[in-house]
């Protein structure tokens, strides 16, 4: 029993130490063949904005649409391949359902067969449970996300404390502008600081 507890403790400690947070691959400078247009992104912090908005000039939307159409004309196979590559929703549901059934039926058979009561069976169950816990702990700890400041598009995203993550995301509303002379603009809500709140940029 003591041995088992020691092994379990070591496995759990090792799982927390094993930082499995693999960095995102860097963006390739070479175009990957997807439709794109060169433009400028203008980021503005607006204290009166209530939500993040991405405003794209209509002319640039038209350009992008033209690129997409030319891509569609010459690449039906690629579209079919893209449509068929990856799992569809029904594939995911059915495979998950059958996987669950496999575990349920396997577990029931294991218990009914009496193997669970034997020493070897108990050992096997202990190993499986410990492996599952340590794997889950690794996943959970390794996938701990960035703070809330990096998960919504506000002025706080630009704070140095958030820079260490190197990325962030949040909801944005896409709008089309009829002003063809303007660039693509990202309006970022930047609510004024209330009294007593520390200035994060200092």
């Amino acid at each position: 029993m003591k041995k088992l507890l020691s092994i379990a403790t070591v496995a759990l400690l090792l799982s927390t130490v094993a930082f499995a947070d693999i960095a995102k691959p860097g963006k390739s400078p070479v175009s990957n063949g997807k439709p794109s247009i060169e433009t400028t992104l203008d980021i503005r912090l607006d204290s009166e904005a209530k939500e993040a908005r991405l405003i794209i000039p209509r002319s640039q939307i038209r350009q992008l649409r033209a690129e997409l159409e030319s891509l569609d004309d010459g690449s039906d196979n690629m579209a079919a391949a893209v449509a068929t590559s990856g799992s569809s929703r029904i594939q995911t549901i059915m495979s998950g359902l059958f996987l669950s059934l496999a575990f349920v039926f396997g577990g029931i058979w294991f218990v009914r067969s009496g193997r669970a009561a034997s020493k070897a069976g108990k050992g096997a169950v202990a190993i499986v449970v410990i492996s599952f816990v340590s794997t889950t702990a690794t996943f959970v700890f390794a996938n701990a996300g960035p703070p809330s400041e990096a998960r919504s598009i506000t002025g706080k995203m630009f704070a140095p404390a958030v820079h260490m993550y190197g990325f962030g995301w949040g909801k944005v509303k896409l709008e089309v502008s009829d002003d063809d002379k303007s660039s693509v603009r990202l309006i970022v809500p930047n609510p004024p600081k209330t009294a007593g709140t520390p200035n994060e940029e200092e």
């Binding site: 068929t84 996987l99 496999a102």
Partner: protein
């Protein structure tokens, strides 16, 4: 086999496809009891499953180019067929376990795991069935040898163990070879059958050679080794077929089936001579029936 895989594939199918099906039918007939008795449920599900799955497969096969299907719905239907197939095999294992008073319900756990794979990686699953099928004949031979020639088992097991070495040697010889010619529809079909469009990173030369090697063993087992091990499987020993020789048998019906199967074999040869590509496509579509029919009789031997 490594040098001329396309030619060997064409010749082996031409010469042996039909006769090996006749030998399989003859072997299954010899193993089928006249009265099913307590195996009634087992044979009903076995034979019924063969008929239903064959009909569903043929529907899938011959309607694959129809405008009624979208790519996604066709793929889903193929996955449903694969799932039904593995569940049917699992059910046969479970029923056989009940007949032998053993708990083989673990078959369902394995079957559901396979079903999950059939949905996650449908193309690889279907290709795996193509490559596993030749080993079914070897399993039949092993089970038959246990019953009629147990003294040959040791040598047979050594022969089985040598197969991976031959495969590795074949792969080592052919790994760097370019893809085989696809100048005709037939050559393309042979490569596609061996998985050239699924395993695109592997040369079709390797795939076709591997498939031809395994299929040749499969034909060899049915045509030569099983009759050698079990004299009841010799096609002319009709007195060893219960359906023919038993007083309660159905001799006329069985004889008719036998004559029809021989006639189909002759027709197949004429078809191959007249239009090899089309005949090959039709043959492999209907051949799923014989592949499915192997399972009830194999599981019954366990």
């Amino acid at each position: 086999m490594g040098s001329f895989p396309l030619q060997l594939s064409i010749i082996s199918v031409l010469l042996f496809a039909g006769p090996h099906n006749v030998m399989e039918f003859r072997y299954f007939a010899a193993r089928m009891p006249v009265r099913w008795g307590r195996s009634r449920l087992y044979y009903s599900i076995g034979i019924g499953g063969v008929l239903l799955l064959t009909a569903a497969y043929l529907t899938l096969y011959f309607s694959s180019g129809s405008w009624l299907w979208s790519m996604e719905s066709w793929q889903n239907y193929a996955a449903v067929w694969n799932t039904t197939f593995v569940i049917w095999v699992g059910l046969l294992f479970y029923l056989r376990g009940k007949q032998r008073s053993r708990d083989w319900s673990v078959a369902f756990a394995i079957v559901f795991l396979l079903a999950a794979l059939a949905w996650v990686v449908p193309q690889y699953f279907s290709l795996a069935l193509v490559y596993i099928h030749p080993f079914i004949a070897m399993w039949f031979l092993e089970r038959q040898m246990r019953r009629t020639k147990p003294e040959w088992l040791r040598a047979y097991h050594f022969c089985l163990l040598s197969i991976p070495f031959f495969l590795v040697a074949l792969w080592a010889m052919l790994w760097g070879q370019p893809n085989l010619s696809q100048e005709t529809n037939l050559f393309w079909r042979i490569g596609q059958h061996a998985g050239s469009e699924v395993l695109t990173s592997i040369s079709s030369h390797v795939l076709v050679a591997t498939h031809v090697f395994l299929e040749s063993i499969h034909y060899f087992v049915w045509l030569l080794l099983i009759p050698l091990v079990d004299k009841r499987a010799l096609p002319w020993n009709l007195n060893d077929v219960p359906m023919f020789a038993s007083p309660n048998g159905i001799p006329h019906i069985f004889a008719t089936f036998l004559v029809i199967s021989l006639a189909i074999t002759l027709l197949l040869w004429f078809g191959f001579a007249a239009n090899y590509t089309t005949t090959r496509d039709i043959y492999f579509a209907f051949a799923i029936g014989h592949v499915l029919a192997e399972f009830p009789f194999l599981v019954k031997m366990l």
